[in-house]
Symmetry: C2
Subunit: 390 residues, 2 copies
């Protein structure tokens, strides 16, 4: 199995860009990733491409990946579109890593994009729902806010977690985003404000949820043995894990654990040869604030049921022992569905290279970073672990 390195990352700003086309957004992320390959890369040297999206912007339904790749001058590379709802580009990354690890590709691209601003807001929320169990959950009238609200309520019931604990994730992430120029929501939030926000799906408040976002991101990878030809600061992908689960929450034995995330984490740690204790910082999938707490437990950052006290301890703050969602996470950096997975890679790789966009956000001394990308309410999860090369 060949070792794999990231040699360049790029991302658009996250936000609402109704004036930009799908191709423009993708092109912007691709140009940024190519420019980030310090010693240069000819786009025609990309062997294989994996492009994550859920909705294809409603435009190019088929051959989506070749169309995006052609838009940024990478014609010819075998390109395919990967869909796994909100984990689409987490899986694109996993498959790009496989393509290189198998010896087939020397240079591969993992990317993601979503254009969510083409529809009225209520219709956006509708098509997002079509990533849940369409036959049961949707017909029963619930949506992702409702499903995560049930998880939150159950976590409070089983473990005594307080609503304040859940709100703390939203507060932390919104405050983290203030210093992130690529983030969508950069207004700070206090615990008092978060607790007093209007209900979305009780106990979740509006400020506990991500929004509707446009954005694109790309990571360029190569065989680790070649990485120094492209940059003096390659970042190794040392662990990769994936798991799936029943799509509908009523089919799962637990409502407070994402088994797919637990399995993906386990595989990622095993392949990396490290444990959760080694993880210095992480970007996790906080589509709703409760999801971040579940991630702490599924990834082994704290014991099962203890995510409330764990976040209260301040461990995951920017200056804590293990910062989580220093970027602002999905809640505040933004969640352009297909882009989120490789957007997390953008953040983690920049941190490990000491290239955070603002000095305020730069973590010091971090060796191991983790990304955790969840599809739907846990139907598919991809976890990756990255390591700076000393």
């Amino acid at each position: 199995m060949m070792d794999v390195a990231v040699i360049g990352v790029g991302q658009t700003r996250y936000g609402m860009f109704p004036e930009k086309s799908l191709k423009e957004l993708f092109h912007e992320a691709a140009l940024a990733a190519l420019a980030d390959v310090d010693k240069g890369l000819d786009p025609r040297d990309v062997d294989e491409a994996f492009v994550g999206t859920l909705s294809t912007g409603g435009a190019q339904l088929g051959n989506f990946a070749p169309m995006m790749m052609e838009a940024c001058g990478m014609v010819g590379a075998g390109a395919r579109h990967i869909e796994n709802a909100c984990a689409s580009s987490g899986f694109a990354l996993r498959d790009a890593v496989s393509a290189i690890a198998s010896g087939r590709a020397k240079v591969a691209v993992a990317a993601g994009i979503e254009k969510m601003s083409d529809l009225p807001r209520e219709r956006n929320r509708l098509w997002l729902g079509i990533s849940g169990d369409v036959e049961w959950e949707r017909l029963a009238g619930t949506n992702f806010a409702g499903i995560y609200a049930m998880m939150a309520r159950r976590h409070m019931h089983e473990f005594g977690t307080k609503k304040e604990h859940i709100t703390m994730a939203a507060v932390k992430n919104r405050n983290n985003a203030v210093a992130n120029p690529k983030a969508q929501f950069r207004a700070p939030l206090t615990l008092e404000q978060g607790m007093a926000a209007p209900n979305l799906a009780s106990p979740l408040k509006f400020s506990d949820a991500c929004g509707i976002t446009d954005g694109a991101s790309m990571a360029i990878l190569c065989r680790a043995e070649m990485a120094r030809d492209f940059t003096d600061q390659p970042v190794l992908v040392i662990g990769s894990g994936a798991g799936s689960d029943y799509v509908a929450i009523h089919d799962r034995p637990s409502m407070t654990m994402l088994k797919g995330a637990f399995e993906a984490g386990k595989e990622a740690y095993t392949t990396a040869g490290i444990t959760s204790d080694d993880i210095d910082f992480a970007e996790v999938h906080d589509c709703f604030a409760i999801a971040e707490l579940l991630a702490y437990e599924d990834l082994g950052f704290c014991d099962r049921g203890k995510s409330g006290p764990y976040i209260e301890s301040g461990a995951t703050l920017r200056d804590g022992a293990r910062p989580v969602n220093n970027s602002g996470g999905l809640i505040a950096k933004g969640h352009p569905i297909g882009s989120t997975g490789t957007g997390q890679v953008y953040e983690v790789v920049n941190q490990l290279r000491g290239r955070a966009d603002t000095q305020e956000r730069q973590l010091s001394g971090a060796r191991y970073g983790l990304t955790h990308n969840v599809g739907g309410s846990g139907a598919a999860v991809a976890v990756h672990i990255f390591k700076a090369v000393e």
Copy 2:
């Protein structure tokens, strides 16, 4: 790079099954594939899954792959949906092969499905069009029939190919399907009938085109070193190639060559360590009859421009030197978009194992079989080469 083997294949009948749901179709193909693993396989031992579809049946837009896998008892395997228009499951196969070759997965599934009978026929043709270049080709009013008609007209102009040569592919494939119980269209066709059929897009006639089809298919793969634990008749995947091209035909230097197919074939031959001369039989992507002639040339079965005389020689008939589309191909076996790639694998693997569904269709002495799966009008192409284990 680990060697990879196919240990079981399954496919539904191809046809119009408005009464069957997506899950039923997928389940039927999965059960058949599992039953085809002679010594048995526990579905929970599948490590990873790659599911090809274009439209997701219009139903489960997101997390499509976990939903299909759960429907057949394979919950937990990291599952993602691969889209590449008509080449969706050809790329699913390629990525399943990578997952195993990289050492990550021991057992992986490549599958495909399409449910096209949910919409009125005219709307089906419309959404198929959204796999072409939406901004240019579609707005100019053309569709795939029109694009392939231009390729046919240009081939006739450049190389003196006769309309009869093109029709011969349709005639051969429709006659081949008569003996295939899994095929959609099993009525024979004569050259006279084909030449007299109504125009679809001149010079292509209605009988030169595939139809609207429902169907699903699955191939189960594992590390070659483990294959004998599952079957005494494993089939090795010795070559894999992929290529992409500009999505719109007006952006390509040639209208009579699919560069993506040429590149995919070249990579497949190189990785297999053989040449086109070694290929004993093939299933190629004849969405329109002209596409089969282009495939002969792109894959090196004959010289550039010589596909007309080549098909006229009878070389690709069932009893010819190199049978092509012995199954009936897309034109007569059927073309349920996402299923076509792994449906080709179903045919080739059964032939190499001496398990053709009817004695009449069984080829004798074949060692190397090839599949050629094209997305759109050539935007993405996957080619694979299979070898029987002696």
